[in-house]
Amino acid sequence: MAELTYLQAISDGLRGEMRRDKRVFVIGEDVGVYGGAFKVTLGFQEEFGPWRVIDAPLSETAIVGGATGAAMMGLRPVAEMQFADFVSCAWDHLVTVAAKQRWRAGTPVPIVLRLPSGGGFSGGPFHSQNPESSFAHIPGLKCVCPATPEDAKGLIVSAIEDPNPVLFFEHKHLYRRIKAEVPEERYTIPLGKARVHQEGEDVSVITWGAMVHTAAEAAKQVDGSVEIVDLRTVLPWDEQAVLASVRKTSKVLVLHEDTRTGGFGGEIAATIAEEAFEDLDAPVRRLAAPDTPVPFSPVLEKAYIPQVDDVVRTLKELISY
């Protein structure tokens, strides 16, 4: 096992798939010579050549539409949006074409979209968003949000293997901050299977992405045993794992970095209310960003993204309820 950053784990998984399967290719803005804005594909063009690591014009529609066509012809494109925020320019192609083509026309669209997402570094309103909830509402798409290096590698491999359009939300804040042992061999992690990040008895936190680490920090600071369920994928999402944890602890906090109203936490809370109402000892709590665009100033951004202190406060309230 080698110790890899979250970013290196994604590169490792992607490179491995490109070596293993010549149908896999990368397309995006500045992914070739430059290695991608965050260097996930650094050195790829030297190894795989300019027709498997394709520098596209600044054209998200052409990138995602093009990936869709190439996938229909039997290739396995991995397209990079320079920032997840720019996926809005390709919304039509994901939602109108790729997500619906299997259901209405019988044509599978096995594409992966890599989406550097999340805030915490003063990226401002257009380089910091977490748009997974918008896409989790679209039947036909899958949304993956890894939290650890090991998952990042296994999930990118699974995403490439999957016969559907998969959005891979990689959290920029984790890229170089999180480091862990990652198996060197190829492995997959099933999409739709949550992971218990840490076991606990008194309260459950249901979360994903960078917030898994925020929750873990907070858990250290409360007097009580906190269970953290890392969803790994929000579409499909592991209802059974969430309900099992809720039934175990009877108290639950749903935590995410995306904004609150219409955020995916609402769906989780509603499902808990429908399926596990009798098991609850406290109202389901949600902690999310407020309903504003992502602010630029560090002071404002800190007020926007749920912080360890916010989680600690909410956990204490739940434990003492």
């Binding site: 290719f25 027709w51 498997r52 394709i54 596209a56 014009p57 054209s59 529609t61 052409a62 995602v64 539409g65 093009g66 990936a67 869709t68 066509g69 190439a70 996938a71 229909m72 012809m73 039997g74 290739l75 494109p77 039509d92 192609h93 109108t96 074409v97 619906k100 083509q101 299997r102 259901w103 209405r104 026309a105 019988g106 044509t107 599978p108 669209v109 096995p110 039947p139 036909g140 899958k142 016969p163 559907n164």
Partner: protein, 351 residues
């Protein structure tokens, strides 16, 4: 208008000898006629079905576009792919989609290509190299560019054909798709069905160039304007462009000029189109024009003409009957196929 035309304007079709030089024998010529007749016949019968209340939703036709759609499709190779739109029924017919399945599609039945999940011309048979359109035009144009990218990556001698209308030419998808195709010299041919009306909007409110094909130069490839009612001229230009793309010569933009001879859809009586315009273009009816050419240049006899007409009539009558016998889709299957399974990838493409 100060715009200067840049695209080449294609000459009309010529003699039988000339046509033979492009690779069409007499049998092909009669097949083209038959496919055009089937195309019009399918849509005329669709109108009847609609009036009988058997088609849910709306109903769209491509009357006036039979020559353009059949001519392009005849020029495609068996392994080529395309993204025909709602005025391009002739492409489905020429590629071999059976009319009974089209009627079943119109009526939302289980045997339509989308099994009642999508309507009207939102259909395609992937085994015949066709990709089903969506309403967001021209979203399939960059998809066709992606098909061409796959052919280029794999060094295959295959070509993608991307259809769009002059209305959709105003959207960014057109620009992004064409720009990328030009940059990478991909094997794709862009076909603009310019039928002069985007719903009720005339061309002078849609674009400010002389010909839409003039835009090709801005993307680094050739543009050609062709009379879309002249099936053989359309065929010739498509063949040239497709073979050029196949040989690594990059994209071409072909603008087929026609008039949309009916409303945007069946609910629209096209009151906004000047009557004289309809009358003028009716004189250039693609079927009548080609029928005359066949009689004058290819010695099509009355007997042959009658034989083709009778066989098409029988084909369509049988197709209607078979489609009416097709069951309604089963609501319990609604959730099936939202997600593909690995087995779904077991297609000729995904080898």
């Amino acid at each position: 208008m100060g715009a200067v035309a840049i695209a080449r304007v294609a000459e009309p079709s010529g003699s039988l000898q000339e046509v033979k030089e492009w690779g069409l024998d007499r049998e092909d010529l009669l097949l083209i006629y038959r496919n055009m007749l089937i195309t019009r016949g399918v849509e005329e019968r669709g109108h009847i079905l609609y009036r009988q209340g058997k088609i849910p939703g709306s109903f769209y036709t491509g009357r006036g576009n039979e020559a353009a759609s059949v001519g392009i499709a005849m020029a495609m190779g068996a392994d080529d792919v395309g993204t025909p739109l709602h005025r391009d029924m002739g492409v489905h017919i020429t590629r071999g989609v059976e009319p009974w399945r089209i009627f079943a599609q119109y009526m939302g039945r289980a045997d339509g290509p989308t099994q009642g999940r999508d309507g009207n011309v939102h259909m395609a048979d992937a085994r015949l190299g066709l990709i089903a359109m969506v309403s967001h035009l021209p979203a399939l144009l960059p998809v066709a560019v992606g098909c061409a990218l796959a052919f280029r990556i794999r060094d295959e001698r295959r070509v993608a054909v991307a259809w769009f209308g002059e209305g959709a030419s105003a959207r960014g998808d057109t620009h992004e798709g064409m720009n990328f195709a030009g940059v990478r010299r991909l094997p794709v041919v862009f076909i603009c069905d310019n039928n002069q009306w985007a719903y009720s909007t005339p061309t002078h409110l849609e674009y400010a160039v002389e010909h839409l094909a003039d835009r090709a130069q801005a993307y680094g490839f050739d543009g050609v304007v062709v009379d879309g009612t002249d099936v053989l001229a359309v065929y010739r230009e498509a063949k040239r462009a497709i073979e050029k793309a196949r040989d690594g010569g990059g994209p071409t933009l072909i603008e087929c000029q026609t008039l949309r001879m009916e409303g945007h859809a069946v609910h629209d009586d096209a009151f906004y189109v000047p009557k004289e315009l309809f009358e003028r273009w009716a004189e250039r009816d693609p079927l009548e024009r080609y029928r005359t050419w066949l009689r004058e240049h290819a010695e099509m006899t009355d007997e042959q003409e009658d034989e083709i007409a009778a066989s098409v009539k029988k084909l369509l009558n049988d197709a209607l009957q078979r489609a009416e016998e097709s069951p309604q889709p089963d609501p319990s299957t609604l959730l099936e196929g939202v997600y593909a399974t690995p087995e779904d990838l077991d297609t000729p493409h995904h080898k």
